[in-house]
Symmetry: C2
Subunit: 412 residues, 2 copies
């Protein structure tokens, strides 16, 4: 199925905000074989909207539209859609109740502007927006479909997954059920993982699609499928899920799409353990990603960023001999950093990093990207040396990910 995307919004066109909706839509329709023909950003302007719809329908039978619906947009989009598809603007009681409920929850009163949200063209079918006030409108004419959605990415994405994608698939591919499963995978580069899963992919039912979503050394695997019989798809998904676990073993660190720092945090909480970090080249970024997770104060006690050798020695207790003999970027130093921060912060677990983030500071022995890292759980300390590619920011990000993976493995 081919479709066009139209993104409405002055703020997007003039470059104040970047459009992420059209890319999100493309990624989430791809598993069903749906392909975008074009994605066009236009202004909040009636003539432009009219022209863009005409143009899009001349190329595809489906048009997905986001934006142009806020209470301050003067209802240009809705009025234009009403003109395009016919009918008149009418008060929709369900939308009105939805807006009332949302405002009651937030403890504010509806004003004239927000009340106008409940006015919709009589030619559309409304899909209730469960996470916002702007209604989603479904129009049909001559077998073609246009869906108008809010511009706020969170609202569009939530409602696409909950309602719009299932209804589009159902409308064009008859009655089907959609299911997703996500797996967070470590230990593999994308190409190596694809090779490992070659046979698995060949044997998958053809209606199920496997996507690789790599990010900072971790790959998210996503199974997506649409099937008429919910029992069949459930059984297939369960079977594929256990096959994946069999093939990849401990390389699957979560059956759910969540950040690595949260996976580590949940494991620490389960085991009743506490964590501290000792950081040189990562400069506080490991502590930062751990404390980005709400509730991390349950298991995270603190960190020492020992940027200078003096702080490594005096605060973390790294002995001066090791610093002199092996240098700051070395196995003995990073292991002593892990031991030192555990003792200092009274924790059972720790991670430590010391490396050359660049662009300066590299030597023939230890070029930019060389990072020694250690993880400690109870009395066991493990350490590794990594050679990470990329610029300073990327080395810091990668080292942060790798040291958390080391800890997760040690936690078992």
């Amino acid at each position: 199925m081919l479709y066009s995307t139209i993104v409405i919004g002055d703020e997007l066109l003039i470059g104040q905000v970047v459009d992420t909706n059209s890319g999100w839509i493309a990624r989430h329709l791809a598993p069903f074989g749906w392909e975008p023909k074009s994605a066009k950003v236009i202004a909040d302007d009636a003539q432009e909207i009219f022209r863009a719809i005409d143009e899009a329908f001349s190329q595809t039978d489906v048009v997905l539209m986001t934006g142009g619906l806020g209470p301050t947009k003067d209802d240009i989009t809705k009025a234009t859609l009403c003109r395009y598809f016919g009918g008149e603007m009418t008060l929709n009681d369900d939308v009105r109740r939805n807006v009332d409920n949302i405002f009651a929850k937030r403890g504010i009163t509806m004003n004239r502007l927000t009340a106008s949200q409940a006015m919709v063209p009589s030619s559309c079918r409304v899909i209730q927006n469960e996470v916002g006030t702007a209604p989603i409108m479904w129009f049909e004419r001559d077998g073609k479909v246009l869906v108008s959605m809010p511009g706020v990415p969170f609202e569009t994405q939530t409602m696409m997954e909950r309602a719009v994608i299932p209804q589009l698939i159902k409308h064009f591919n008859s009655d089907v059920d959609i299911e997703y499963r996500t797996f967070v995978v470590i230990d593999y580069a994308e190409s190596a993982l694809a090779e490992k899963l070659d046979k698995f992919e060949q044997d998958m039912p053809p209606y199920i699609h496997l996507a690789y979503l790599p990010k900072q050394g971790i790959i998210r695997l996503r199974l997506t499928g649409a099937h008429k019989d919910p029992q069949v798809i459930n059984a297939d998904m369960d079977r594929l899920s256990s096959q994946l676990h069999k093939i990849l073993g401990h390389s699957i660190i979560a059956d759910d799409d969540k950040p690595l720092a949260q996976i580590v945090g949940e494991r620490l909480r389960e085991l009743g353990l506490t964590l501290s970090t000792a950081e040189s080249c990562t400069g506080g970024n490991v502590a930062h990603v751990i404390t980005e997770i709400a509730g991390s104060s349950d298991y995270f006690m603190g960190s020492v960023v020992s940027y200078s050798n003096d702080v490594k020695n005096r605060v973390l207790g790294v002995d001066q001999d090791s610093l002199d003999t092996f240098g700051a970027v070395s196995q003995p130093v990073v292991e002593q950093m892990a031991n030192g921060v555990c003792a200092l912060c009274h924790t059972n677990c720790a991670v430590a990093t010391s490396g050359v983030a660049g662009p300066g500071g590299g030597t023939p022995d230890k070029p930019v990207g060389t990072v020694w890292m250690a993880a400690k759980v109870g009395d066991i300390v493990v350490s590794q040396c990594h050679h990470l590619p990329g610029d300073r920011a990327r080395v810091i990000d990668r080292a942060t990910t790798q040291v958390l993976i080391m800890l997760l493995k040690l936690l078992g």
Copy 2:
């Protein structure tokens, strides 16, 4: 002047990569009164490219095109442009030399694919790409102009500033010189700054444009102008620059577009001072943004992330009485944290934070977003309480910015 943007690339259309070029172009042409009519993302497909150019020229006299030029793109874009504007594909010696030079610098040899970069339609004028191998092509027909640029944002943005924008302005507005000045401003919300600069803006020469670019509590002011006489524009820019300094005084913290952490770092280096950080709610993020700056090890010694009260007390020396009486989020605690980390890391300067980042942990007295922060230079310690809006990530970001601004002011 109205223009259309066409962005070519399968990877953009399917949502693997987000298009940031069209927004960048819009922001950088706005100061000259140029307005985008639409921005369309299409596939690497000859028919689509042809159709998109036709459509764009039916609405505007200028079309700016990015992408579709890499050596792996099979030259679809170039062949299509050749078909559209006429002429034939010919070897351009200047491009060939440019590609040769770039490859020589990188120490690699040109292969068949990269050699094809030097082939361009005879109907275009080439603008040398000084930072990449794909040539920039300028086409004209019936008073209309199309400029084809690479998809790599760094290349497009660099060459737009160095060559394409000046040439476009010159072509349509006759012979002019372009100048930019940027100022980093603290202490003001955008609306308050606009009020403060009301008279200044009214008195500006009409050919100079002032843009407000706010980000995380800091506003970048940008003066842009185009004028036939370089001496006039230089004199005007100098005059406006000193007027801005007079009006805003110490609220201008840099005359150049650079990160706050770099401005703080340069000031520390100038003064020969050293810095450490003691962080509770910011969880290591202050240390992280400081150490993102290359060379920060010259002045940054280390940090203690004291997430638990135990670490605040034992490692930083915050007395237990203060913690019990005033709580961790309090003036006495945050000041003792700053003093403690200076003593521990042997630095002259420090910053400290303690707050409620949320979503949990808020109380009626100290709701989510309450952050106490301190800055210390030599023997002087100052502290402030901020109430920051937004979710956990935003509170952490804002607190990081605010505490660095406090330090910068104390450094004088």
